[in-house]
């Protein structure tokens, strides 16, 4: 069953949210999802670029009240 792990990186600036995502990706299983909460606009642009480069999967980005929820699936 797919697990979803939440990372609350609100208040952290680039590349803080990305580094937290990567550290967490090492701990979860293939197919699991990670939901990064970030208030940093740069990370909203950068995280999908990183996901594409290293061949994981973007599930989606949704704007919440004062932050973004960026959901990534571990693909390998």
């Amino acid at each position: 069953m797919t697990e979803r792990t939440k990372i609350d990186a609100r208040g952290a600036y680039c590349p803080g949210p990305l580094m937290e995502l990567i550290a967490t990706l090492k701990l979860v299983q293939i197919g699991d999802e990670i939901d990064v909460w970030s208030s940093d606009k740069g990370s909203v642009r950068d995280i999908p670029e990183w996901v594409k480069k290293v061949r994981h999967e973007m599930v989606g980005i949704t704007q919440q009240d004062g932050y973004w929820s960026i959901v990534v699936r571990k693909a390998k």
Partner: protein, 132 residues
């Protein structure tokens, strides 16, 4: 195709340049790209052990902004790059010789050793070279 390695030469002790070098090194390393960083001159001063942040990170206007906004700490970013990717740091052997310094003068867990510029430049011919 193998990733194009990134070689960063950091000689400046300015906080802004150290921050930029640490960001490039860590993000490059976690993006499946081998990264090597050669640290010399005033940049070495920022790696000394047990410095308060105010002394370690000295710079201009943007240094103040980085501190006020609590940007990720440069040395922490480098540690993360080493832990999560292929990042190596080398201390300039000429600078160490001139000052009579040993590697134990610097923060633990960052430098992979001392290295000469000739070796670093020779290795850097195989990748992209950036100096700050």
């Amino acid at each position: 195709m193998a990733a194009n390695p990134l070689y960063i030469l950091l000689a400046s002790g300015e906080h802004e340049k150290l921050q930029m070098a640490a960001m490039m090194a860590s993000v490059g390393a976690v993006s499946e790209r081998p990264v090597e960083m050669f640290v010399s001159m005033n940049a070495l001063l920022a790696f000394e052990k047990d410095l308060p942040a105010e002394r370690r990170y000295q710079g201009g206007k943007f240094s103040k902004v980085l501190k006020e906004k609590r940007a990720p700490d440069a040395l922490t970013l480098l540690r993360q790059g080493k832990e999560l990717g292929d990042l190596k740091l080398w201390a300039c052997s000429m600078a160490l010789d001139m000052e009579g310094w040993e590697l134990d003068r610097f923060e633990d867990g960052l430098f992979d050793g001392a290295r000469g510029l000739t070796k670093f430049l020779s290795d850097a011919e195989t990748g992209q070279f950036i100096s700050l």
